[in-house]
Amino acid sequence: MESNIRNIALDAGEENGYAVPEECAESEKAIGELNKENLKAQYDFINLITLVFIFLCAAAVFIIFTSSKRYGDEGNKFSLERLVSGEYTAEIQSRYESSLPFPKQIRWLEERVSLIYGIGNTISDSEGVKEQGGEEMPNSFDEPEQNRHEEKSVTTTTAEEKKTQTKKPEETAPVYKTTYKRTTEETTTTTEETTTVTTTNNDAPQVNTTVTVPPTTEKKTSAATTTTTTKKQTTTSATTTTTSASTTSASEQVSDESSENEAMEE
């Protein structure tokens, strides 16, 4: 039995008539495919980690760096009733969207980034409104009373305001005329209405207004009031061309300073 067992020397394969088989071409191919799969998996992992990192960083920035509390404070107390009615979640959404961190920086960044979208993009002014040839949002071919797109109701208003201004240069635009005639408190209200008109999809319309001041009977107090109001309204008009936020802050300045003047006069 043991004599039948022979030590086979691989080196001497050819001498003994035993040819060592060459590596199969198919096995090399299989090894190559496996290497490709491994490589693909590695880069898939890098891709996944990179994208998840960006997601989590963006989520963290928008949660951590907020300017106001969002959840559970007095303005948005959790209760089952408010949850069922949708008020709680609507308030969370509203607060999240209104308290994004670094709004000016984000707008600045968005304007710079949009420069690469095409030719001729410019950055208009420090308030950050981008000019695009001064275009305004137009109407459709449909007759005005049949306009069916939401943004058209806004653009129609804007276009009408502009038309009113071009045709009657001595008159103010309806909203500003009303603003002037009202008290400072009403100025603020009117400006808020202006804010609601502006949509997030549209650029703020370029509106230039002139404010005319009719004479009043009360000379001392009213003149002082008139002067103050006139000056401030000019400022209000100018800043309205940019962003609604600026308009709001300008009108708050108007109301604050006018009320201070009135207090001093009293």
Partner: protein
Amino acid sequence: MSYSDLLFFLGLLPLSTLFSFFDRSTEYKNFILIITSAIFFSWAKPAAVCLLFATVIAEYFIGLGISKNREAGSPLAKVLLAADLIMNAAVFFVCAHNYLFNEIDALSLSQAVIPVGAAYYSVRGFSYCYDVYTGKCRAEKNIFCLLTYMVSYHFMIAGPVVRYGDMEPYIRKRTVGGREINEGLNRFITGLAKAVLLAPVFERIKLAGLNSDEITLFGSWFGMIAFFGEAYFMLAGMSDMARGLGKMNGFDYPENYRAPSSKGLMTGLLESFNTTLVKFYKEVFDGLGRGKKALSAVCTVLCFAALMIWYGAKVNFLLVGIAVGIIAALEKYVYGSKLEKFPAAVKFIYVFIVSTAVLGGLYFSSLYGYRKWLLALIGVGTDYQLSVAVKNAVLNNIVLIIIAFISICPFIRKPLTAAAESYGERSARAYGQVRICKTVLLAAILLLCVITQAAKLAV
């Protein structure tokens, strides 16, 4: 809530994905999916909108009834199917097109309570019972599986119309690993870019071109092409996001928006847009035709009319649907086979002109506007050739327009992707370079989308 909302893709989506990993069982993943869908569906709306999901109970019992009566050969199966159709049609018209009931107080709902995605929800419900009736799938005995299918937020807003038979294997068993999450994220980001970066560009061109105060020849053409572009990229983007979300949860949904092509003439073009919905409608209406040429032609017309009504329950949508149906029937039974023999350029011109002229009717709510625009296409009633607004809208966004064009043109996109793949196959290093470029590109796109969406809110 929408897929492109910051609060969704930076809040709800990561949390939902994270929670779904706490357990490997499919039942747990389905549970998380149902909870996330309920939150998505009822976000900032009264919880009562979730009452819509009560129709799942009706679908469950109707499905069981249809299956039992179908096996017994009873005509009650047809009656139950008709009842299901009426129920889903009611949901569709009351929830998705509530403006039809503005003058009926009992049915008129405020915008705050109208559930999102009711149109696709109703189609999904009817498709389940239809598939049970035709024997394509068996009636589901586990109501939670059916609930997972019906309420899944993945395809709530923009489809695809996934059939229950295709989704059932995933509902019962699926695995989610790094590869699925990676592919899903890539798809989601691509869709987000289409909806957030590309669609608004076409909206701006549309509004500049279709301006009745300044009617121009090129503005009429560009404006209408931009109208189609806006609709395509918005819906295709949403659908891509849906596929990405599904992939991240272990589902594999079919492609819903193909690149527009003149290959199948006008019918092929229509089928490339919302493919799964068109396929379902054709299946239902072709089943009514049953071999008779005249009846099939009528069913084709009715199919496209019903499809357009689905998009918008308005007169102009109905008229466009009928026109498109007539063209599809003519192509199928009269001149389609002859036109197929013509060169590709001729077919392209035919499809381009017919689709622009006919589908352009969707934009106008009156014949006055439509006629005015049609005349403007040939230069009648135009002030001049090109307005400053249209020129600026195009030039200011030319890079994005080129990218959009490349993404839908296979004869440009395919050579580019083939060249990248062939370069990557040279060596491991080359492959790494290609992959790193793709990753950097996706990361840049994601950052652009986040900045764009945040800038809209940062007022």
